[in-house]
């Protein structure tokens, strides 16, 4: 329905405007309807301005900036209508060290309402998760889950939760 779309759009827009500057440590971003008169057909434009830079078309942004902008928008939608789980497959691949840390921090703030599954090749991300499953192929072509490591701080959180029951 028109009204539901408009309400959802505005809610997501508010969350996006709040989340982008957190992930970018500054700057601003928002969503804009290409055709505000027509809630049934309008498209959605993304306006994004990293800190200190001029607002220009989103295509000119760098690979890492685009990924982080996309994550801000996806997490904004998550905050409006959470899904029980969120799977992010190598989303951190284009990010530099500082942005990998910010991405993982943002994931952590979203865990109050959803479970996250992160697939990664990046060590910093591996240090940020609660449990690590290692997948390998000791026999070529046949997958095997070979190791499970629980992060210390996660272990402590679980113990605290268990003893509190």
């Amino acid at each position: 329905s028109r009204r539901l779309f408009k309400e959802t759009f505005e809610a997501v827009n508010l969350k996006f405007q709040a989340l982008f500057p957190k992930l970018f440590r500054g700057g601003e971003a928002s969503l804009r309807l290409t055709n505000p008169e027509d809630m049934l057909e309008t498209g959605i434009e993304i306006l994004a301005q990293p800190p200190g830079k001029k607002l220009s078309s989103i295509e000119l942004m760098s690979g890492g900036e685009k990924a982080l902008t996309a994550v801000s928008l996806i997490f904004a939608m998550f905050q409006v209508k959470p899904s029980p789980f969120c799977i992010l497959d190598e989303v951190d691949a284009p990010l530099d060290e500082a942005n990998v840390a910010r991405y993982n921090e943002a994931v952590r703030t979203m865990t109050d309402r959803s479970q996250f599954i992160l697939i990664t090749h990046i060590k910093k991300t591996m240090q940020m998760v609660d449990v690590l499953y290692g997948v390998t192929m000791p026999e070529p072509g046949v997958s095997k889950i070979v190791s499970v490591q629980v992060n210390d701080s996660a272990q402590r959180r679980m113990n605290a939760a268990l003893s509190a029951r």
Binding site: V12, A67, P84, F85, I119, T125, V135, T136
Partner: protein, 168 residues
Amino acid sequence: VKIKRLEIGGFKSFVERTVIQFDHDVTGIVGPNGCGKSNIVDAIRWCMGEQSARHLRGRAMSDVIFSGSDTRPGHDFAEVTIVFDTADGDVPPAYSSFPEIAVTRRLHRNGDSEYLINKTQVRLQDVTDLFLGTGAGTKAYSIIEQGKVGLIVSAKPEERRLLIEEAA
């Protein structure tokens, strides 16, 4: 709902029955290239009712059945089960009396295919209804596939509205 665990058997490179527990807030999956990490994501999508083989990197749906390796023959069927924990109560009424909801999808080499909820055979429609009811649905923004995060930025404005529609 929360995902409790995933059980994969005969699906893509997971020919051996594999159980993955999801007890934590943030789970990391790591390993060398080609060892099966994204296949786990495909297994979850497939179990949730994905109908397009292309969205699972295949040409035909039978591509999800283990096709063999240097040392093993192909498998006869693929099966994936997602087990949900209903403790936090966000459950469709039909299943509110169960402590767990197990959704299973099975595909045989000969094309026969089954869907089960808590071991009872159901239709695909029941599975998609259940997922929609729990809020997992096939939300386009709850599974970000490898290499695809940039698409939301390069998408046409009309394509982006579909994401808002999903959230609505």
